[in-house]
């Protein structure tokens, strides 16, 4: 673990994090435990910490999953089919798209193309996560990647930033909790579709935006280079604002992310050069 930490220290470990900040995310710090993460009794504690880390996102999963399941029923899908979709596809926006395209009589090819487009952003997330899987087994990489969502990504990023490591047991706790909650929320939405007041579902829908704001803020607060992160955020928002109504939204998100990260990196490299060598 020590070896693994030093490898990413320059970018991913934030020594400036205060104890107060650490407590706000998770009370379990694996570096303070003598056991190796993912082995022996440490794995159980890490799994539990992963489950706890998932809790703040549950409201988001429930509101969106609820709405998603309800729309599935309204679109003519059976509860079993809705459970299959949420378990196998496991992506809110892609499920919404699937229901509406299928109900509109679209062919399999256009449905798959739509799902591919809407989930393209996961490539960037998965690329980022790869850093933490260098010493993992193929099975761990498969399971860790398969259950990657916007929310689990953002929560895992925070943990990784703080600890410089992402123990598989912790990630599994986070992922399995999110996945099961998503499936149950979809099923409940599917079964209770008719009974739900529309305004409530609509209002809860905003929890998705709130959650991403929250996750973005926590990522930013834990960052060691807040000015550059702020620059990246500003560029990303600007690119979205300019292009989101002219191009397909998911492509714009990719374009915004790539340009923001690129500009921020160029500025960072210039800063490093002007300081002459590695940062203190």
């Amino acid at each position: 673990m020590k070896k693994n930490q030093s490898r990413f220290e320059t970018v991913f470990v934030d020594p400036a994090v205060t104890p107060q900040e650490q407590n706000s995310i998770s009370n379990t710090d694996p570096s303070s435990q003598p056991t190796v993460p993912g082995r022996e009794d440490g794995a159980g504690a890490l799994f539990k910490a992963g489950v706890i880390a998932c809790l703040p996102t549950i409201l988001g999963y429930w509101s969106i999953g609820f709405a998603c399941g309800a729309i599935g029923t309204v679109s003519g899908f059976s509860p079993l089919e809705i459970v299959l979709l949420s378990g196998l596809l496991y992506a809110g926006s892609a499920q919404f798209l699937f229901y509406s395209l299928y109900a509109a009589g679209a062919g399999a090819l256009s449905i798959v193309a739509g799902v591919l487009l809407i989930n393209l952003r996961h490539i960037l997330m998965s690329s980022y996560m790869a850093m933490y899987f260098q010493r993992s087994t193929a099975m761990q990489k498969l399971i860790g990647g398969a259950l990657l969502t916007d929310e689990t990504f953002a929560v895992a990023v925070q943990y990784g930033n703080r600890h410089g490591d992402l123990p598989f047991a912790w990630l599994l706790g986070l992922n399995v909790t999110a996945w099961l909650n998503w499936i149950v929320a979809n099923l409940m939405g599917a079964l209770l579709a008719a009974a739900l007041p529309e305004s409530l579902v609509h209002g809860l829908g905003f929890s998705l935006v709130s959650m991403f704001i929250a996750l973005l803020l926590m990522t930013w607060l834990a960052s060691r280079q807040r000015m550059l992160e702020l620059l990246a955020v500003a560029i990303s928002v600007l690119v979205v604002a300019v292009f989101v109504k002219r191009l397909e939204a998911n492509l714009v998100i990719l374009l915004a992310t790539v340009s923001a990260a690129t500009v921020a990196t160029v500025v960072l490299n210039r800063q490093r050069e002007s300081r002459g060598g590695p940062r203190p």
Binding site: E21, L55, L59, E81, L84, L88, Y90, A94, Y102, G107, A108, V112, V115, L116, N119, H122, S127, Y128, M129, A130, M131, Q134, K141, L142, G145, A146, F153, A154, G203, F206, S207, V209, S210, F212, I213, A214, L215, L216, L217, M218, T219, L221, S223, L228, A232, V233, I235, S236, V237, V239, V240, A241, V244, A256, T257, A261, T262, T265, L268, N269
Partner: protein
């Protein structure tokens, strides 16, 4: 669902799985340079900012007087998040603000 529906579901799930797993499988074997690591380090904040911006611009909720309820609720969530530094408080504040504003201004 028809047979083609199930085919669409299975292929969609497989495509999504590949998008999520392949970069981890391929890139975890690489040793990236400092610039590549810095670049990836900016991905989380950039991608979340882009998703929030896209949501706010594409699904605005207007009050009768022409104020953007979603933008106001987002601002409330941001302020609460900066003060509380808690995910839970931020999410609850955002949803409460959205529903409250919808009720009072909508």
């Amino acid at each position: 669902m028809s047979t083609s529906g199930y085919v669409a579901l299975l292929v969609s799930a497989l495509v999504t799985l590949l998008l999520r797993v392949l970069p981890i499988l391929l890139m975890s074997r690489m040793r990236l340079g400092a610039t590549a690591r810095s670049w990836l380090g900016f991905i989380p904040a950039s991608i979340m900012a882009a998703m929030v911006a896209a949501e706010l611009i594409l699904k605005p909720e207007w009050s009768s007087s022409g104020l953007s309820i979603s933008a106001l609720a987002a601002a409330v969530a941001t302020v609460c998040g900066l003060i509380s530094r808690s995910l839970f408080v931020t999410v609850l504040a955002g949803v409460a603000a959205f529903m409250g504003l919808q009720f009072w201004l909508g």
